[in-house]
């Protein structure tokens, strides 16, 4: 159908690569990611360990594959919560308007004025740390942004004559919202899913880096970076693999959906 631009092609290639490696990581990693080996501590990248080993002699490639899996699962779950709840709220408030819409949007403005990571930290400090808690924490803070995107699309679409036409036919409000308007918001919603996923990856990495996200023994890219920082003098390569995995993932998705 549509022709991809050069940047979109690069994005697609990156996404396919990252998704591919992660999928492989579900079933196979070169080494056991958690197996320590006293003989191979802090090894520089070499043939056996393409990204080197860490201070416990664990293979960094295997750990990155495992950590990426955790990060991506958390990010996907987060986006799912945010997108489903946010889209429904945004669709309904955007379509009907009125006082409820006004209040929710005000509330949304307030939430938007708090930096997202601060909000996530607030939720975490209440719920406590852990894999599932961070999904809930990030999921909650992603709801407003999806609600806002969907709402503004619905407000714009609501004015169009085809919606009036549907009302004149006698279509019910739910039918209009989901069958008539929703398909037209997809071109906006799909890219915002990818952007949301990116933000979730970055947020999860930041929180785990701060020690407030995924807890040991679950591996995570953010926590690996925090560990790597302590060995910056002795094993500077340690930080490269997890860091660039994050960068390439986010870069890939955002190039792919760039219009």
């Amino acid at each position: 159908m549509k022709k991809y631009t050069a940047t979109q092609k690069i994005g697609l290639a990156l996404v396919l690569m990252i998704v591919g490696v992660t999928l492989v990581g579900l079933f196979y990693t070169p080494y056991d990611p958690n197996k320590m080996n006293g003989l191979s501590k802090n090894m520089a990248p070499c043939l056996e360990h393409p990204f080197g080993t860490d201070n416990f002699g664990r293979d960094i490639l295997s750990r990155v594959m495992d950590g990426a899996k955790t990060t991506f699962i958390i990010a996907s779950a987060t986006v799912l919560i945010g997108a489903v709840v946010g889209t429904i709220i945004g669709a309904i408030t955007g379509y009907f308007g009125g006082v409820v819409d006004e209040c929710l949007m005000r509330f949304n403005d307030v939430v938007a004025s708090i930096p997202s990571i601060l909000l996530a930290l607030l939720v975490v400090s209440i719920l406590g740390v852990g894999k599932y808690k961070i999904i809930v924490a990030l999921g909650i803070i992603f709801i407003p942004s999806f609600a806002r995107v969907t709402r503004s699309e619905f407000v714009a679409q609501r004015q169009l004559d085809y919606v009036k036409n549907a009302r004149l036919m006698g279509a019910s409000h739910l039918r209009i919202i989901f069958l008539h308007i929703m398909p037209n918001t997809l071109p906006i919603l799909l890219p915002s899913l990818a952007i949301g996923f990116n933000n979730a990856v970055l947020a999860e990495a930041s929180m785990s880096y701060l020690g407030l996200g995924v807890q040991p023994p679950d591996p995570s890219l953010g926590r690996m970076l925090s560990d790597a920082q302590s060995f910056l003098m002795t094993a500077p390569w340690y930080c490269l693999a997890p860091g660039f995995t994050i960068i390439l993932t986010v870069l890939g998705f955002s190039l792919l959906v760039e219009r």
């Binding site: 009036k164 036409n165 549907a166 006698g170 398909p183």
Partner: protein, 523 residues
């Protein structure tokens, strides 16, 4: 012709997309002499606007002049350097555009916007600039020019903005003015004033004008000579009399025949009286209806103010009748139509009709049909909601209806996005008739269409009306279209019906001053 100002020789212009050259203008040749007003008419896609943008060197980056000459006073604009061309602009060739709303910079006051023309061309005496702008404003008929100088565009009306644009174009007394549909976005009465102003500029300063328009009536009134363009080429050119009285080419004849015009019918029809059957029952009765919007200020504590758009309007429509409402923008005609079909609640008064769910055909067929769907699924939708027919029966009915509105063939599965404006409007009409409706509201259904397409749609509407004995409420700003179609007419202004009566009463014996003013502005 020794006094030729611009000579266009074998001009080819097109767009380059994906390294492919798509021609828009293919080999046109014409010239314009000093003091002449030359009209260029054509439908959308005929290349008339691209021609003018090429002369002004305003093509978008993917526009490309393939070959040709643009001789302005003997020297070719196309071979000049960028700087030479820049100096010619506004100084010798100026241009005004269709949308006075958006053609001025919204965040700069209009006075300085005109003044910068002087600075850009390094006119002497910068101290005098402001005075020159103000006297130019006076020249184009802006009242209180000093106050206007300090106003932002959004504080002016459409007509005033177009006057500012003309002042901007004329301040350096250019030899040639290109006017690209300068009155299309304006109300008829304002349109008349702007046309008079252009004529006045032409007389006073001897400026040649290239007047581009889709509206043949306007061209006929203003221009000395006219060029008819179709599909990037010149079909025919000649004096106004030659083209309008004895057109040679088939396309010109078709175009002229398609123009709805009360003048055309004047001789044969004035005598004929429309028969009025008093007994026919009314399909719609509107009694003393008032419609208002509640405008809410921003924020939770925004103050609510009620704005009344329609004030106590009464009329009725009989079975099988086409009732027209004409009015300029802001007259409340569209709001009234929305209240009648129930899209907007009315504050007071009574609307009674036989039809439980009246349908409406909207102005813009690009927004009134869901772009995400196929024609089949759009037309099936009312039948699905009604829930009477099975799937195959629905499909049969949809196909039958498509045929009736002139869309024979495999349209059922086609995507809306691939249809032209005229085809879309046919689908919209089919949609309105889908569940055997008797009464339809048509809100400016042909305003967005080219004149030949417009003619086809009007004919279709008339045929369907006669076949099914339908009743229409036809809303339009175009008095010529209303004349062609309607039996009875109401004239609206500022939310009230100024006058209503049969078509001939309104057009030939208007009682009110406003109606007379409208009729006189018809071109």
């Amino acid at each position: 012709m020794g006094n030729t100002i611009l000579e266009v020789n074998d001009l080819h212009v097109g767009f380059v997309e994906n390294k492919q050259y798509a021609p828009i203008v293919s080999g046109i040749t014409f010239s314009i002499s000093k003091g002449e007003i030359l009209g260029i008419v054509g439908e959308s896609g005929s290349g008339k606007s691209i021609t003018s943008l090429t002369i002004m060197d305003l093509l978008k980056h993917n526009g490309k002049v393939k070959q040709g000459q643009l001789l302005f006073e003997g020297s070719d604009l196309l071979t000049m350097t960028k700087e030479e061309k820049r100096r010619k602009k506004a100084n010798e060739i100026a241009m005004i555009f269709q949308e006075p709303m958006t053609s001025l910079n919204p965040v700069i006051k209009v006075g300085p916007q005109v003044e910068e023309v002087l600075a850009l061309h390094k006119e002497p005496n910068p101290g005098e600039y402001k005075k020159r702008v103000i006297s130019m404003f006076e020249d184009v008929g802006l009242k209180d020019p000093e106050a206007i100088y300090g106003k932002y565009p959004h504080q002016l009306s459409g007509g005033m903005r177009q006057r500012v644009m003309i002042a901007m174009a004329m301040i350096l007394r250019p030899k040639l003015l290109i006017a690209d549909e300068p009155t299309t976005a304006l109300d008829v009465t304002v349109q008349k004033q702007i046309l008079e102003l252009l004529l006045q500029m032409n007389k006073k300063y001897g400026t040649s004008i290239i007047f581009i328009s889709h509206d043949l009536g306007v061209v006929r009134k203003l221009c000395d000579r006219v060029i008819v363009m179709y599909d990037g080429a010149i079909v025919e050119q000649g004096t106004i009399n030659e083209i309008f009285e004895c057109p040679k080419e088939e396309y010109t004849k078709k175009l002229l025949a398609a123009v709805p015009s009360m003048r055309k019918h004047e001789e044969q029809e004035e005598a004929a009286t429309v028969e009025q059957e008093e007994e026919t029952p009314a399909i719609l009765t509107v009694k003393d209806v008032t419609v208002g919007y509640t405008v809410k200020g921003r924020g939770i504590f925004g103050k609510k103010t009620t704005k009344t758009i329609v004030k106590g309007v009464s009329f009725d429509i009989k079975e099988g009748e086409i009732f027209g409402i004409v009015g300029e923008s802001g007259s409340g005609k569209s709001t009234l139509s929305k209240a009648i079909v129930g899209l907007t609640p009315h504050a007071s008064g009574e609307i009674t009709m036989q039809e439980a769910h009246p349908q409406m055909v909207f102005q813009d067929p690009y927004s009134s049909l869901n772009p995400a769907k196929t024609i089949g699924s759009i037309l099936s939708e009312p039948l699905i909601i009604e829930g009477k027919l099975k799937k195959e029966e629905r499909r049969r009915k949809v196909e039958q209806m498509l045929e009736e509105v002139g869309l024979k063939g495999d349209y059922y599965g086609r995507n809306i996005a691939k249809l032209s404006g005229g085809q879309r409007q046919r689908v919209a009409i089919a949609l309105a008739l889908m569940t055997n409706k008797k009464f339809i509201v048509l809100d400016e259904p042909v305003s967005a269409l080219d004149v030949t397409i417009q003619d086809q749609i009007l004919k279709l509407l008339k045929r369907l009306q006669q076949q099914h004995r339908l009743s229409y409420l036809f809303i339009s700003h175009d008095l010529n279209v209303v004349y062609e179609l309607c039996d009875r007419i109401a004239v609206m202004k500022d939310g009230v019906i100024v006058e209503q009566g049969t078509r001939d009463e309104i057009y030939y014996h208007p009682k009110e001053a406003y109606t007379r003013q409208l009729i006189e502005a018809i071109v």
